[in-house]
């Protein structure tokens, strides 16, 4: 069972055939659209019909419970036997574990992906520079709102576009990223020798005060609490809003949109900067987890050690350079060719049959890769887009990533799972993100926001904090 970002591949399609031939096994894959993946995952975990291998968020409460009850194979001590399955990055492996036990192969992702995508033509028109600090960001947002950057004579633009965020606190929302810029812990962090939740810090409040000033000044889309994430790019593309804070690959998505409009000058529309400095010049960057979900193996459908060995052997083969290239990039010579020995350049882009292979790889099969990503490659060939703006963006992306990694603020509690947090999730998980949005929209005051933080503690948060502290100590970090 795996995620899908488009139409499901035909099981008899060229790419699936190629993968099956490579592995010497028939594959039966359940593709589930990304938007409903978590729901479907919870339902599947509640059924008695689990697929052998599934893509799953290792800290999803239902998965944690199942894994701890023994529904999935504990792979911690088994991976050494398979040359290609050993974690390539210990930190990411630990992050994706449940209290140090590995229940799935993590899918590699670049650690630092947060960035701001900006309308370059607007900056140029108003004679502004790329923002470097949060104050610059504020000024740019203000100018985008008040100085008519699109030149239509109407007061109909705003600076920053924020959507209704589907995740909870510390789930890489624009809010989380901005709070980290202001120095708040990313999720959980140490304060006076104790690990505390990021929202219980003065920096958290300061960041939100700053954001509220932007909301009050009309610098953020007024429907930030209800705008669908699927429509995030629209205001940017249609010239209503000028900035997006999200993963750096979003630059590619918006470039695609402008490319459709104007195949010559699309590069003039999009600029990107990385994480920002605080007013005092200090810089804190928001890192991601280094992984996106894991491939977990069910004990129910993979019953014996012998069966497990078979599955792991297959996954080991898939984790070779050849296998990763197949699922990440497609079929060599059909939809891409290798350039300079280490990059994949797209070919035959106008051939409909080749386009199917390309889409199948991008929308679906890449989800099966554990060691390859399009933007930085991993052990797979890095993808080189054909247009120069794309190439420049990719180079910039890599440079920003390396630069911001030096100031990354890691989430101290990422590898641990508190039982209370799992059990009380339904009652406490929405308290903080809801309160934050209410505060920003002016529905509650700062004191009420603090009251909500207290309510979080009273509803079980105190217990969660104690458990997290114990678990982190036990993990010996």
């Amino acid at each position: 069972m795996s995620k899908l970002f488009g139409t499901a591949p035909d099981p008899k399609g060229e790419l699936q055939q190629a993968v099956e031939k490579f592995l010497g096994k028939k594959l039966q894959i359940t593709w589930v659209p990304n938007a409903e993946y978590t729901d479907k995952l919870n339902v599947t975990l509640a059924s008695d019909n689990l697929p052998q291998v599934m893509v799953v968020d290792p800290h999803l409460p239902a998965f944690v419970k199942s894994a701890q009850a023994g529904a999935f194979w504990d792979l911690t001590d088994k991976l050494d036997k398979y040359p290609n399955l050993k974690p390539s990055d210990e930190r990411s492996a630990l992050n994706s574990s449940i209290n140090g036990r590995i229940f799935g192969l993590y899918r590699m992702r670049p650690l630092l992906r947060s960035a701001i995508v900006i309308r370059k033509d607007w900056l140029d028109k108003l004679g502004l520079k790329l923002p470097e600090s949060v104050d610059d960001l504020y000024d740019v947002a203000k100018a985008f709102t008040e100085k008519d950057p699109d030149g239509n004579g109407k007061n109909d633009t705003y600076g920053l576009i924020i959507p209704k965020w589907p995740g909870n606190y510390a789930s890489a929302s624009p809010y989380d990223v901005i709070e980290t810029w202001f120095g708040a812990p990313n999720g959980w962090g140490e304060r006076d020798g104790k690990i505390v939740p990021g929202f219980d810090t003065p920096e958290f409040l300061e960041a939100n005060r700053w954001l509220k000033k932007m909301v009050d000044g009309g610098m953020i889309n007024p429907d930030f609490a209800t705008l669908d994430t699927a429509k995030w790019n629209e205001p940017f593309h249609q010239g209503k809003g000028g900035m997006i804070i999200d993963v750096n690959i979003r630059s590619r998505q918006v470039l695609d949109l402008f490319y459709e409009d104007d195949k010559e000058n699309y590069g003039d529309k999009v600029a990107m900067v990385g994480n920002l400095k605080r007013s005092d010049g200090q810089k804190f960057s928001y890192p991601f987890t280094g992984y996106a979900d894991v491939l977990a193996i069910s004990k129910q459908s993979v019953r014996t050690e012998q069966d497990l060995d078979n599955v792991l052997k297959t996954l080991d083969k898939l984790a070779t350079k050849e296998g990763q290239n197949l699922v990440t990039n497609g079929i060599e010579g059909r939809n891409y060719k290798v350039e300079n020995g280490d990059t994949a350049a797209l070919i035959n882009e106008d051939d409909p049959a080749v386009k199917v292979i390309q889409d199948n790889a991008d929308d679906a099969f890449i989800q099966l890769s554990t060691k390859g990503t399009v933007d930085i490659g991993g052990i797979a060939y890095q993808r080189v887009p054909s247009g120069k703006p794309y190439q420049d963006m990719l180079t910039l992306q890599k440079r920003l990533m390396e630069e911001d990694l030096k100031t990354a603020v890691h989430n101290a509690a990422l590898p641990v799972v508190s039982d209370t947090a799992v059990a009380r999730g339904p009652q406490i998980d929405t308290i903080i993100p809801d309160a934050r949005i209410k505060f920003l929209s002016g529905a509650i005051t700062e004191d009420q926001l603090k009251g909500e933080i207290k309510r979080w503690y009273d509803s079980g948060g105190t217990q969660v904090t104690t458990e997290i502290n114990d678990l982190v100590k036990k993990l010996g970090q």
């Binding site: 239902a62 429907d223 993100p433 009273d458």
Partner: protein
């Protein structure tokens, strides 16, 4: 009404045959009405297979259920999940929101079809009457998703039609996001329900009204009753049984706030007024994976619904009305 229809002409009504069974031996009774009993079989089978057997699953409300361990392997925890629900921070809010929405529903949505049916009944031009009726029940066939999208298009802060009017007509540029305001949540929900359900609800009442004997009106007119008097003394008493049955049926759904509609209208900003049992069960069970806990919530809701239905039926009988059973 339902009981009238259930009794075939010339045969005994079911409730009477039930009483008679005390005197006539069961075998004879079954033998005599064997075709009727045979016709009952698919219905009973349906309820047993699809409604009663799945209730076995309710046991997981008393367990820390893990599918991997199954019903027999999961640990029993007694009433833990119920305690967590009743003592938890959400219960009061859920109860309040659910009941308030139910109350608003009873006050505004339930009588609406009656009023509209009475109004339509007074329309003498049959073409007009029928076309109005058809027009207002069409929204019933739209899904809640579409209703929610329509609401969004009308009320959204940025591009909403309504926001546009406010700007153009009143010069109001405050851009209120109605979809995100707590105080607008309940009015919007009730408006949606009125818009979507009123027309459909009138069908039953219009049918009941069509059954009123015209002689009664004539007699009332002879006695000098005006339009309003006729309405009060003839029409309303005539449809009272229908209203009572509809009310009892509705009472069982009192805690059913309608999952889809509310879920679609919930945002971070209005969650504190929008959370009701239905959406909470989905949120806790499907998106948070707390299966046992959400089953306990659902079970509580179901039990409360049964109590309400029996209670209102009892009340109806006490008030001299013909109850549902």
């Amino acid at each position: 009404m339902a009981t009238h229809l259930a009794a075939p002409p010339g045969k005994a009504a079911p409730e009477e045959s039930g009483r008679g069974a005390a005197k006539v031996p069961l075998r004879t009774a079954v033998g005599r009405y064997r075709w009727l009993y045979l016709m009952l079989v698919p219905g009973v089978a349906y309820f047993v297979i699809f409604k009663y057997l799945p209730m076995y699953g309710l046991t997981i409300a008393f367990q820390d259920f893990l599918p991997f361990l199954g019903y027999s392997g999961s640990p029993w925890v007694g009433l833990k999940h119920f305690e967590e629900l009743f003592a938890g921070p959400d219960f009061g809010r859920l109860m309040f929101n659910t009941l308030l929405l139910a109350l608003l529903h009873i006050v505004f949505v339930f009588p609406a079809p009656i009023v509209v049916a009475l109004l339509l009944n007074e329309v003498r031009v049959s073409f007009l009457k029928r076309s109005v009726q058809s027009l207002i029940y069409i929204p019933h066939f739209l899904s809640w998703t579409i209703v929610a999208s329509l609401t969004y298009v009308l009320f959204a802060a940025d591009f909403g039609v309504l926001a546009g009017w406010m700007r153009d007509l009143l010069g109001d540029t405050s851009k209120i996001d109605y979809m995100a305001q707590e105080e607008w949540f309940r009015p919007l929900i009730i408006l949606q329900q009125l818009w979507k359900q009123t027309g459909w609800g009138t069908i039953i009442y219009l049918a009941a009204l069509a059954g009123v004997d015209p002689n009664l009106y004539e007699a009332a007119r002879m006695d000098g009753a005006g339009r309003f008097r006729q309405l009060w003394h003839v029409t309303l008493p005539a449809i009272r049984p229908t209203v009572v049955v509809m009310a009892i049926l509705a009472s069982g759904n009192l805690l059913d706030s309608g999952f889809e509609q509310i879920w679609l209208m919930t945002t971070s900003l209005n969650r504190s007024v929008a959370d009701v049992f239905d959406t909470y069960v989905y949120y806790a069970g499907i998106t948070q994976g707390a299966i046992s806990y959400s089953t306990a919530v659902g079970l509580f809701k179901g039990v409360a619904g049964v109590i309400l239905i029996f209670g209102s039926n009892w009340l109806a009988k006490r008030l001299g009305q013909r109850g549902l059973f």
